[in-house]
């Protein structure tokens, strides 16, 4: 995992990540997302049918930038590729993220017809100012 301990702290704190995927014509698309990491991957969670997983099915190259909510001069930028998009355990992941960003009592609501997917990202190039 390419992140330094300081960089990891930024990802593990409830800071929003701005996640970039590529549209069909190769143009970039960026949205704010909840994010976390483990020893191998940067983890994002979305739902089937949305723009992000449609883009990722075509092109696995992604980027993220995360600024410290308490100090916006601290940030990291990551370029990487998606290793896996999976529905397995994905509701548990979005629930974990909901607890992280909204509070320990805030379960993520289960919506009929929504299939959550977890996106696992391998960071390949990391820079910034932490």
């Amino acid at each position: 995992m390419k992140l330094t301990p300081e960089q990891r702290k930024l990802v593990e704190a409830p800071n929003l990540a701005h996640f970039v995927t590529l549209m069909k014509d190769g143009s970039p698309q960026v949205t704010p997302v909840w994010v976390h990491c483990d020893d191998e991957y940067i983890i994002v969670n979305t739902a089937e049918g949305r723009q992000k997983p449609l883009n990722l099915a075509r092109d696995r190259r992604v980027a993220l930038s995360i600024a410290d909510a308490a100090d916006p001069y601290k940030y990291i930028q990551i370029r990487g590729r998606v290793a896996e998009v999976t529905a397995e355990g994905a509701y548990d992941v979005i629930n974990m993220l909901s607890h992280k960003y909204r509070g320990p009592d805030e379960d993520y609501p289960k919506r009929p017809g929504e299939v959550r997917v977890t996106v696992k990202i391998v960071p390949e190039h990391v820079s910034g100012r932490v």
Partner: protein, 137 residues
């Protein structure tokens, strides 16, 4: 070019950080946090000559940015568009104005020797977002 709504414009004019995405030479995406504003027609960011962003933009003007409302993080705007101009003209003053907007009236922007500031003008083509209606109190 599509027109931005008052809510979009408010997000761009208030001191909310923007995260802008450009394309590397091989088409791979790159993104970083930046200061942003709106001049009535174009979305403006400010960068410096020689950096990755302007090098990417020279090659491919396609750009995207997201701006989250610092007062309510579930409200944001997402813009996709094209850079229509990059210029050093007025860029130092613009950078100083952005420093005051984001860092306070006494902010002194730092200049790196050997770099010139650049204004990047973005024409929005596609705009989406979340919770962009009027705020309920």
């Amino acid at each position: 070019m599509i027109e931005l709504s008052p809510e979009h414009i408010r997000l761009l004019r208030e001191p909310n950080l923007a995260h802008v995405a450009t394309l590397m030479k091989d088409g791979r995406p790159q993104t970083s946090p930046v200061w942003v504003d709106f001049d009535g027609t174009h979305v403006l960011i400010n960068t410096a000559t020689g950096r990755q962003k302007p090098r990417n933009i020279e090659r491919d003007p396609r750009i995207a940015l997201s701006v989250v409302d610092r007062e309510w993080t579930q409200r944001y705007v997402e813009i996709r568009g094209n850079v229509v101009e990059m210029t050093t003209e007025g860029a130092d003053e613009h950078y100083a104005m952005l420093a005051r907007k984001y860092a306070g009236p006494d902010a002194k922007p730092r200049h790196t020797p050997g770099e010139s500031r650049l204004i990047v003008r973005i024409e929005p083509e596609h705009v989406t977002g979340m919770n962009l209606g009027p705020r309920s109190t």
